[in-house]
Symmetry: C2
Subunit: 462 residues, 2 copies
């Protein structure tokens, strides 16, 4: 693979930037000890000791200490002027530090760059706070273009990029085909409640709450499909569990026996993601004090009614006939799975049909309950999935039973009118998975630019 | 990599589907000649010759001919009933055909499955037309859940999945980080014209026309970022070049010399994509009668004014002072690049600043013209890119010059207030690239479920 960062790859033409063609990435400084190198990046910290001015310079690959000495007067004068977040390129000699001066905490802690020349690309205003310090969440969000530059934030979104890549790679390797479903939709799969609506050339359109209809239709085309797509929920509550725009990792697969084939697929997929994170992201997990979970060969699984019996006994509450789990129930069940099976994951299956969407497949062996599941992970539901109805007439009946009009779904229904195999799938919230993997308290910390009832970048009340 | 299609991977439990655990993919039938196998899929064609009933059965991997003989009465009776698009699994003996009966046009043309048993998963209504026949585009779109099942459509969207994967893989290999930018935005990068607006909890929000602001902000975090994201244009015209929702392949990179670094990156990226298509998609290109282009070592490049001089001379029109190119100009320039340089690609650089967005970097050596480019491919612009302003004050002035209020962009402006390197990037339309690669006349054929002024799945006027 051609490395497009490599200097030889660049145009050798008049340069805007004096040194750019010779740039060394900070993590590669080790290979050039004793040589004059050029680095480029942001001033992370500046410590002015008068004669000696120390700079910690940050690029995408690491942080290195540089020092300006009075003997290089021009560079020393420039260094006096620098402040945090200024963007520079620096020419200097990569000196090996004496043994006792080595900083063991940094991968470049054994090197110090003796500055011979500085070029300033852009200046920065004085920072409104220490961006690496403790910040309340509102301030953190108000200043995302600055606060996302912290080591912690970079770790979160590096891990997220690795998760999404691992998701796609596993499925592609297993002959799933990626699809690009629309987000502008006419009728909503979930019936239209909680959807954002807008004017589309004189007609009402919705923002998709899920790619459900389209991934099912595409099972008729490719048998197995996946997508990583934005979905929208116009929910009015602001909690640590909800986002109004989030990324859904979705798959749908044909020719299954039942929902357990889908669960088995999800297990294998999660095991793959964790293997990839073990290879790529150990440093980031360590920084956040988080652990990569072990995915057991078989994820424990309970029917909802079984789970509720355990909950009623343990918590002394009567939830045995509730159609769904409360947040505290999800937390308790995860503790139970951890204690009993040593698993961070637990499936809950067989929710009542009454609370599931119209495309849900009823278990013939367990009337009124769905061949479907939620996956709970470290206290929260991260996936809903299951088998779907594949017979046209059954689906039409189910739509009517939910009080909806089949005519409104005539486009979607064509897939079933013209032959669909038994199929199922699931959607997994990327931000929830990221947050729980890394031990973040609020799911909003796992969305780059989170949207909630109070905020689109800035607080809406401002 | 664990193959999740493999039978041993499935639960061995009570099955809904009699044969599913033993399923053989059609393309693998060769490995089992002489054996009894189970296939599953759709009836593609049925030919009833009375005693002999022939079925072409289609799954995700291929098409195979099966034959029902009167000697297997139950199967023969079932085969009589079958119609196109019914979903079945079939047990049968994979017989090698006699030499003279081999169908050379099909990869499984040397096999015939002698049916011993049939299971029907779902029935299909009579098809409203021959789905593989010539259809006008409106009928094709009206029946997408059916018409996407044709070999031609499957080829288009297989190629598209390979393009998007190649885009991501190349950039990931080259240390770009994938980001998930929001599509719900407050202020629009292009100034708000042509954006869809909607009510967001009592405030006006827009659907993003590009991830521009967010990918620039993220250069301050990761230096090099990319995204594959949906973007929205509320343009009222219906043409063969436009979609109201499309997928943009976007990247942005820091520490560049100028726009030519971005052009160089795009060239290398396109070369990689074509290499991947050579490896993965030759069959699909052959089916569509299309050729995978050669990406030259250096893509020819003209300044807009140079291009216009050529156009004026060749076409006898005076377009020398126009701010942009007309569609017929783009077509002529592509013919010119093909004739003169043997290239399917040509860059046009240095458009006037007056017509470019507020973040555009002016070329100091060519006042009033942008350090930016369009990439034309086979007659159409598929990319707009360039260097961006990275200095805070310059950007504030540029916003004012466009008649916009800097306060409205205060969130975005933070990135520049707190230090940004010289940077640039581009956006490439996935559907246009797909359409032009495969020789499709209308870009809408390269979107799974295209949205235009007249249609969200169904015609809006209905």
């Amino acid at each position: 693979m051609l490395d497009i960062r490599c200097p030889t790859f660049r145009f050798k033409l008049t340069n805007l930037c004096k040194f750019m063609n010779e740039r060394t990435y900070i993590k590669n400084a080790h290979e050039k000890i004793g040589q004059e190198i050029v680095i480029a990046g942001w001033v992370n910290v500046r410590r002015d000791h008068g004669k000696l001015i120390f700079l910690d310079v940050r690029d995408a690959t690491g942080i290195i200490q540089a020092v300006a000495l009075p003997s290089h007067k021009e560079a020393h004068d420039a260094a006096k002027e620098l402040r945090p977040e200024w963007v520079v390129s620096i020419k200097g000699i990569a000196n090996k530090r004496p043994e006792k001066m080595i900083n063991q905490d940094s991968p470049t802690g054994d090197i110090e760059l003796e500055i011979t020349s500085i070029e300033i690309f852009s200046r920065a205003e004085e920072l409104p706070f220490d961006k690496d310090g403790e910040l309340n969440l509102d301030t953190y969000f108000d200043y995302l273009p600055l606060t996302l530059r912290t080591e912690r934030s970079r770790a979160i979104f590096s891990v997220q990029a690795n998760i999404i890549a691992a998701f796609r790679n596993f499925l592609t390797e297993n002959n799933f085909v990626e699809i690009q479903p629309p987000k502008i939709i006419g009728e909503d799969a979930e019936g239209g409640a909680n959807s954002f609506t807008f004017d589309y050339f004189g007609h009402t359109a919705h923002l998709a709450q899920s790619p459900q209809f389209y991934k099912q239709i595409m099972v008729g085309v490719f048998e197995k499909v996946f997508t990583t797509t934005s979905v929208y929920r116009a929910e009015k509550h602001s909690t640590t569990r909800h986002l109004n725009e989030y990324t859904s990792l979705d798959l749908e697969m044909g020719f299954i026996n039942d929902h357990r084939d889908v669960m088995r697929t999800e297990r294998a997929l999660l095991a793959h993601i964790m293997r990839v994170l073990e290879e790529t992201s150990k440093k980031e997990f360590a920084l956040l004090g988080a652990e990569i979970p072990v995915v057991p060969e078989e994820i424990p699984s309970l029917k909802l009614r079984e789970a509720q019996k355990l909950l009623s006994e343990a918590l002394g509450v009567d939830c045995a006939n509730e159609p769904d789990l409360e947040p505290q129930h999800e937390r308790w069940l995860c503790e139970y799975a951890q204690k009993t099976y040593g698993s961070d994951f637990i499936f809950i299956t067989h929710f009542p049909m009454s609370k599931r969407p119209m495309y849900t497949f009823e278990d013939p062996a367990d009337k009124d309950y769905a061949r479907g599941f939620d996956l709970l992970f470290r206290g929260i539901e991260i996936t809903t999935g299951g088998q779907r109805i594949h017979e046209y007439q059954t689906l039409v009946e189910s739509i009517k039973k939910k009080g909806l009009e089949p005519e409104k779904f005539s486009f979607y229904l064509q897939a079933f009118k013209y032959g669909m195999p038994p199929h199922g799938g699931f959607g997994m919230g990327l931000e929830r998975l990221t947050a729980k993997l890394l031990g973040l308290e609020n799911v909003k910390e796992a969305a780059l630019f989170p949207r909630d009832i109070n905020r689109i970048d800035k607080l809406l009340s401002q």
